[in-house]
């Protein structure tokens, strides 16, 4: 048995690239993109493909630096809306840029990881939803660090009694991110997947298109309750975020 463990150990260590960033974040093939920022976010980029997570189910590819240079100002503008105090509270310190991010073979825009205080972003994510996606993923970090403020049962109770969310965010075909003309309690089709995605969608719209949401809630009582719930509980963390 000891010999077996020994060989497994040798096999595992031979696959890991040794460097100081890996030592800190447990993500291989990263390099520093930008370290000094007003809100203390540290930006890193993938200099090679990487696979992480349980059974290496998260994969992402090397970043094209010209592509990143083009998109970075927009990303930075959006992330600069969060101050360092708030980012500390939601445990976000590192943003990792890569291309073609997949989790369990499903393409995704971002993966938050509060344990390592990291948000992985796919810079090739659909341009149309890109800014919203950033705030959407930020909300997941907010919720994961403040579970008591964003109770999913309470939030679900705002819906019609006949409505049921799916079992998980990828277990349904409710994936469209376009905003509904007639909201009826949900801003997008993806909002109907699970409560946390519904909350994240509301937050992302509040961050990117607040005026439209303020108009929509005048004619949508369910959405109005949901928006107020998000606003009320966000204010308990930071009064100036929205």
């Amino acid at each position: 048995m000891k010999i077996l463990i020994f060989f497994v150990f040798i096999f595992q260590i031979s696959c890991v690239n040794a460097d100081e960033i890996y030592n800190l974040l447990k993500i291989p093939n990263l390099e520093i993109y930008k370290l000094k920022n007003n809100n203390n976010i540290r930006y890193l980029s993938a200099k090679g493909n990487f696979k992480i997570g349980i059974n290496k189910n998260i994969t992402c590819e090397e970043v094209n630096i010209n592509n990143l240079n083009t998109k970075f100002p927009l990303i930075e503008k959006n992330l600069n809306r969060y101050n360092s105090n708030f980012l500390n509270k939601i445990k976000l310190k590192y943003v990792v840029f890569c291309e073609n991010l997949f989790i369990s073979e499903i393409n995704t825009g971002g993966i938050p990881d509060i344990k390592n205080r990291t948000l992985i972003l796919d810079i090739n994510f659909n341009k149309k939803y890109f800014e919203r996606m950033i705030h959407h993923e930020i909300f997941h970090m907010i919720q994961n660090t403040h579970i008591k403020y964003f109770d999913e049962d309470k939030f679900s109770s705002f819906n019609h009694a006949s409505f049921n969310y799916a079992e998980c965010s990828t277990c349904s075909n409710r994936l469209n991110l376009d905003q509904y003309e007639k909201t009826d309690g949900f801003l997008t089709e993806y909002s109907k997947s699970i409560p946390s995605e519904d909350m994240a969608e509301i937050f992302s719209f509040l961050m990117t298109d607040k005026e439209t949401i303020e108009v929509k809630i005048n004619n949508d009582k369910i959405l109005s309750k949901k928006v107020n719930y998000i606003k009320l509980n966000l204010a308990k963390i930071d009064k100036n975020i929205l």
Partner: protein, 216 residues
């Protein structure tokens, strides 16, 4: 009568060249194998320190690495570090995690001692003294030769493992508790065995002794 055949001038030069070459090859084979050959040993009797109470001497294969400790920056951590040194718990501790020209890490008391290495658990051992709270300092720069207390991915999990940077690592600033800086012998640390492209080292180098200067 047998005539003596004299070597020509060019033959003599070639002969001398071959002798020189063989001497060079012979000495290279034996001397260059010694990785510590050109490393300064740092004789303690020739060195002067302003605060000898905060000087620790780590003896490894190639000589003494002299570290100045910073109790003003991280009082609890330096106190723990001194206790571990005084109890001689670092003696025999393996540099099991080494990234070439980047950092070396040692100090797993439970599973990382050279006399009792457990490759399946190394890096997860305890000293038995309990976990410490991180003493982070946003102004301390992890320049070449900085000594920091290692932790798991979570803060407040420091115990006994420490690392020494072999180059400036800006990303560590505010992330790890600073312990001190190497004042002499950084080149000795660059000779410590690396794991090639892997972060963990098989059959690692180790700390022979680790003492506070005033206890010598």
């Amino acid at each position: 009568m047998i005539k003596t055949i004299r070597a020509s001038k060019s033959e003599k030069i070639l002969f001398i060249f071959l002798i020189c070459l063989s001497i060079f090859a012979f000495t290279s084979f034996f001397l260059l194998k010694n990785k510590c050959l050109f490393v300064e040993k740092n004789n303690l009797s020739n060195l002067y320190f302003n605060e000898p109470n905060n000087i620790a001497v780590m003896n490894v294969e190639c000589g003494n690495v002299i570290i100045e400790l910073y109790p003003d920056i991280s009082p609890k951590t330096v106190e723990r570090f001194k206790i571990l040194i005084e109890k001689k718990m670092y003696d025999g501790s393996a540099f099991y995690k080494v990234s070439e020209n980047t950092f070396v890490q040692a100090g797993d008391i439970e599973y990382g001692n050279i006399n009792n290495l457990d490759y399946s658990k190394i890096g997860s051992g305890n000293s038995g003294l309990g976990l410490l709270k991180s003493e982070l300092n946003n102004d301390f720069k992890f320049t070449e030769g900085s000594v920091g207390f290692a932790r798991t991915t979570e803060f407040d999990t420091e115990d006994s493992e420490f690392f020494i940077t072999l180059k400036e690592i800006p990303i560590y600033q505010g992330e790890y508790t600073p312990i001190g800086k190497v004042v002499y012998g950084l080149d000795i640390l660059t000779k410590i065995k690396t794991g090639n492209k892997a972060i963990y080292v098989l059959r690692p180098d180790y700390i022979k002794t680790f003492r506070l200067l005033n206890s010598n």
